[in-house]
Amino acid sequence: MGQIVGGFATAHIMMSRGSAGEKGERVFAGMKDIGSRIRKLAPDVVVIISSDHFYNYDLSFQAPFAIATDAQHQPFGDMSLPTDIIPGACDFASGFVGFAADHDADLVRLQDYRPDHGVTLPALIIDPDRRTPIVPFIINTAMDPAPRLARAWRYGQLLAEYVQTVRPADERVVVVGTGGLSHWLGVAEMGRVNSAFDHAVIDAIIAGDGQKLTSWTSDYVLEHGGNGGLEILNWVMMSATLPGQRGEVIYYEEIPEWVTGMGGIAVVPGEQSEEAAA
C-alpha cells in the first residue's frame, strides 16, 4: 500500500515585494519552509488541491471536482510565474478517476489543463527543479452554488483510501491544499480579512478535527471568509486525507495589502488528536 506521508496547506499568491513589509517576508519564509519540509519527505507524487481562476474554466460548463491527468503540465504563466513544464503523474491521476467512479464520486478528467498560480506557485515552492510529479486536483470554488465542504471531505477520504489500497507499496504521497484563507474578491468588501475565521480553520485542522468544518454551509463561508474563503474547500480535502492527525502552524499573517488572510500549516502523520486517540 502507498502512504500519505504529509499534508500541508498554504496560500497560493504573493504580491509585490515590500508592499506588505515584514508580514510578506514572513509569509514567504513560511512558504519556503513548507517547500523544504515536503522535499525532506521525498514524495513520489504531490497532489496539489487548488482552484482554477478562470484560466482553464469558464461559466459555460461547470465541473465541481476535477483532476489533471496529463503526463506533463504546461503552466499558464499568470502572475509572471515560469512556464516551463511541470511533470505530471498520469497513472496516479487516471487511476483516481476510476477509483472515484467506483465509489459513486464523479471526478472530471482534465486534459490539456494549464496550471495557473494556484498550482504553479506551490509547485515552484515545493520543487523548483521540477522533478517531482505533481497532480493538480481542482475544486471549483467559483461556481454557484459552490461544492459543500462535506463533499471536499469525501474526496479527501477517497484519495487516502486510493493511496492506501490501490497504489504501489511504498509509494509516498504528499497532499497540499492551497488558497485561502479569508478574502473577498471583486466585491465591496475587497481588502477585508477575518482573522477569526482564518484561525477557526487553522485550529480545527491542526487539532486533527478538520471534519468539524464540514458543518459550515457555503453561505457561512461566504459571509465570514468571503468568496475567496471558499478555497478552504482545498484545505478541508487535504485534512480528510490525514484524519485525526495533529499539525502545526507554519505561518499566518493578516495582509489586507494582499487582500488575504495568508496561512500555512503542516499536518504530521503519527501525532493523533486527543479525540482520535481516545
Partner: protein, 92 residues
C-alpha cells in the same frame, strides 16, 4: 444568451483567443463592439473598475482577470516577481 453570461464570456475570451488580449489592450472599444452588449455594459467594461464590472454583471473572480487585461498597470502591483526570482535562483 444571458446578458451576464455574455459579459463573462468576454473576460474568458481575452485569455482563450490568441491575440485578443493584446488587441483589446490596444483598442478595447473595437474588441467590445463585436459583442452585443448594452450601452451600460459597454461603458462599464470600458471603465473597468470593480464596481462598474459588477454592475455590468461580471462574476467577481472574472473581474480579477478582466481588470488585469483592461488595466495592465495593475500587474505591477500584484507581481510577485522578486519572490519568484528568489525561488528560481534555488534551481540547481
Amino acid at each position: 444568451m444571458n446578458p451576464d453570461h455574455l459579459v463573462n464570456r468576454i473576460a474568458a475570451d481575452l485569455y482563450r483567443i490568441p491575440g485578443l488580449k493584446a488587441e483589446f489592450q490596444s483598442d478595447p472599444a473595437s474588441v467590445l463592439s463585436r459583442y452585443p452588449l448594452t450601452e451600460a455594459q459597454r461603458d462599464g467594461l470600458i471603465e473597468g473598475s470593480f464596481p462598474a464590472l459588477a454592475a455590468a454583471g461580471m462574476h467577481p473572480l472574472l473581474q480579477m482577470i478582466y481588470s488585469v487585461a483592461r488595466h495592465p498597470e495593475v500587474n505591477a502591483q500584484i507581481s510577485a516577481q522578486s519572490y519568484i526570482d528568489e525561488l528560481m535562483a534555488e534551481r540547481r
